[in-house]
Assembly symmetry: C2
Amino acid sequence: MSMDEITLENLDAGEFIEEQCSAIAERVAGGLAINALSGGVDSSVVTMLGHRAIGSRLMTYFVDNGIMRRDEPAQVASMFEKLGVPIEIVDAREQFFSALKGLTDPEEKREAITQTFYRDIFGDLVRASGARYLLQGTILTDVEETVAGVKRQHNILSQLGIDTREQFGYTLIEPLIRLRKPGVRKVGEALGLPGELFARPPFPGPALAARVIGETTPDRIDLVREATAIVEEELVDIKAFQYLAILHEDKVTGIRDGKRDYGHQIEIRCWDSTDAKTARPTRLDYALLEKLASRITTEVKGVVSVTYNIASKPTSTIEAV
Amino acid sequence: MSMDEITLENLDAGEFIEEQCSAIAERVAGGLAINALSGGVDSSVVTMLGHRAIGSRLMTYFVDNGIMRRDEPAQVASMFEKLGVPIEIVDAREQFFSALKGLTDPEEKREAITQTFYRDIFGDLVRASGARYLLQGTILTDVEETVAGVKRQHNILSQLGIDTREQFGYTLIEPLIRLRKPGVRKVGEALGLPGELFARPPFPGPALAARVIGETTPDRIDLVREATAIVEEELVDIKAFQYLAILHEDKVTGIRDGKRDYGHQIEIRCWDSTDAKTARPTRLDYALLEKLASRITTEVKGVVSVTYNIASKPTSTIEAV
């Protein structure tokens, strides 16, 4: 397969879909394929392409890791149900929280999530399924970042615990590898994916675990999930590049009902950026900031303090963990 | 002594100074008195009154606890030198840092500072001095807050380790007890205290230890001291009620010279308030916020992230610790 970029200008979405569906059907032939749906744009587009190409011979798994945004598993399931695409939801919440228990270092948290997903959950599903074809939503930017050393190499088979020297016959299919994000969105729209999928801000791989400083526990994820829902609701119309809520591990002195309340702090970040390489805090109206602070300290249990990030990237990064 | 309030309108500063000096001279008679100067307005005014009343029979100690703002000990010493008032500086930095070592709970930190000051440092000075008179800058608001249970009771003699039942003869003199803050300032100006004393924002008893979340170490105090100097410098003209910098214990991911830099976060707070009972974040211009963030991430070693408080009191408090 050629790795030449298909630019947005040169992309005929209908033609692309037809070509990729033929290619998938041809390679899988009469066999079985499998893919993991995260609810993001890339994996949603791959899921649609795969099902259009080979129907029920593609098994799509949605792994509920317990660290997703509010209603995310239900929304994804309902979205694909409406599109007539069967999705199997795997409840892996306990396995992820157990893997994250006691970890506070950001790199260790990321590694635990990656290992739990690839080796323990999806790896088992692949081996149990009998499928020899894996559909993966790798895009051109992922490849470039791997080459540049920014991201970990996408050696998906070894991540799944599949030793290709011993276990021949696994084939990785990456239909989006010549596209960048805007091209993927265009294809997604042509495939009939609903607007709500594109409306939510980008979400990192480690999900809400990237939004919790310190240990990732079910209680702490619940707190940041509620704060995230408020921030996404209030900032959706701002059209910022990215916006998010972070739960700090530090506790600060507060006061509630006239009494001292040593409580939590939520940090809000909202970014202006074109490419995520550099970014500046969006100059949000103070009325909106004050509404956010008031809603979060009122609606999210135990939160007494809210801050807004005012540092640029660099020296900050978009996410805190 | 009558505890009736002297309102600002009824206060004749010249007359007040004359009365208080006579009263101090009369009570101390030919004896020795002692007082602790913190560098704040109240204790500065008491120092001036005492020296005017009894001259060198008042011994004034300035305890350098290591957790003061940049240049504070030197500024205070130089200010009183210019006024012709002798001050003895006591270097107690090691004792305070040793008492604070390992403490992360805000209440325990406050208690360690109080105990170290009253029992270990100033208590020893009082006993060694042979003085039987203590001058103290208690104001009417302190008394009211003690009665209301907001502040710890001002039982200065027992805090100093002086058991009044066994050690008779100690006399506490509180010349400012019928005034509130604006009255104290008026008297201070009449006593010739310079404008710089009144220009700095209020500073809490536990000093920079109140501005560090987590353990108070010399290195962490250095960081928050530098950030505080920048915040005070940039916000002095805003005329806000209070403004401050807080060093968080949480570390966040940053990027410097193209490399990942897991670094510190500074939180800035700036308050609009009339009485500190309720307060709102000042709506600072974004250009100013961005300048603060840029200066702090550039000038303060290891800081990669800066936030601005957007929550009101309540549920927040003015200080974080």
